[in-house]
């Protein structure tokens, strides 16, 4: 009912709002939030309309309240528990990136097939044998998987995650995963992102700079 794109922007708005909160900002108008987010004011208002949030024509939106409302809309109330599959360079970078854990979104384990990594702690995350992925992930209640293994084992990792009960996957491997319709997959394709930028470097015909 609420589009994928809107969810993405709401996530961004929340991050901007929490930043503003730290500076003790109380209220904000759609115009300014749009400018921070790199979008337009009507767009911001539409997005907030989608989650049924209302501001006031005189004060705009209440920063703290809006941030909270977005949170209660996009966060899973039961919590989201992620596992990283593949503790290589990229996997470790992701772990480090999310080390400041958000309350409703926590990484709970990493998996790899390298004996040197198995059993150790990486970026504060326990690394298990990938052979135990299905058992461990379902035991730990993992519902989100992050795939950072090479292309040739990505589909296998996805299948195992699905068997373990995961219903969302963030995939960094350069392969299109086949999963049941009930599982959501977000592809982050670094090669394509890079090649897109390279294309627009070439053609001076630059479109407006927008989100990925």
């Amino acid at each position: 009912m609420v589009s994928e794109k809107t969810i993405g922007r709401l996530s961004l708005y929340r991050r901007l709002l929490t930043g503003l909160l730290d500076e003790n900002r109380r209220n904000i108008f759609s115009r300014e939030l749009a400018s921070l987010a790199g979008g337009t004011a009507p767009q911001v208002r539409r997005d907030l309309m989608a989650i049924g949030y209302s501001g006031s024509p005189s004060k705009g939106y209440d920063v703290a309240d809006l941030a909270e409302s977005i949170g209660s809309f996009i966060d899973n109330p039961g919590g989201t528990f992620g596992a990283i599959v593949g503790a290589g360079n990229l996997g470790r970078a992701i772990m480090a990136y999310f080390e400041d854990r958000r309350p409703r979104l926590t990484l709970v384990a990493a998996f790899d097939n390298d004996p040197k990594k198995i059993g150790s702690d990486i970026c504060g995350l326990r690394c298990y044998d990938i052979a135990d992925l299905e058992a461990k992930a379902s035991r730990l209640g993992v519902n989100l998987g992050v795939i950072t293994v090479p292309a040739d084992t990505a589909q296998e990792a996805a299948d195992t995650l699905v068997s373990a009960g995961v219903s969302g996957i963030l995939n960094f491997a350069p392969v299109r995963l086949r999963v049941p319709d009930s599982v959501y997959v977000e592809h982050v394709d670094l090669t394509t992102s890079m090649e897109k930028v390279a294309y627009f470097v070439r053609s001076s015909a630059t479109p407006k700079a927008r989100e990925a």
Copy 2:
């Protein structure tokens, strides 16, 4: 004239096609390419129409020739030279990811402010002092910048890259960059990607799985 989304898919098609080439596949129909790319057959045909490529109703498309045609459309004939700004976890992961350099897209330098890194080679890439970014980048002919510094220095990095003559930026910092209209920016927002997946984990109302 050709949309951003089409460019992204063309990049993916090319990668799939080069994979097929290694298996000595000669021809392919839009249906199969679509299935590999996670899209639809008419979509593939439209995308190829956009670059003026024609197949034959009997044989479909010639794998090698199509891969080459896509290349000559999206690659910069003069070459694309990228610099990584920020040699932290993520920056190093990106360097490792692109170590198998493509002929028309090469990373030529890394920049950081950590004295331990400056002067050393990381993943086969020389790391320079970020204070020398503008001078070094323009001397090396860098036209694409990859920003993997923390949020608070990302805008500064972008400004310097622009001064150095870069016209495309791949930004991993969780900030919306302000750049001149002539510069293309692609934002890869890991937090948002993660939160989007988390949202769809929650709502069993899953849309079709698509690209980022």
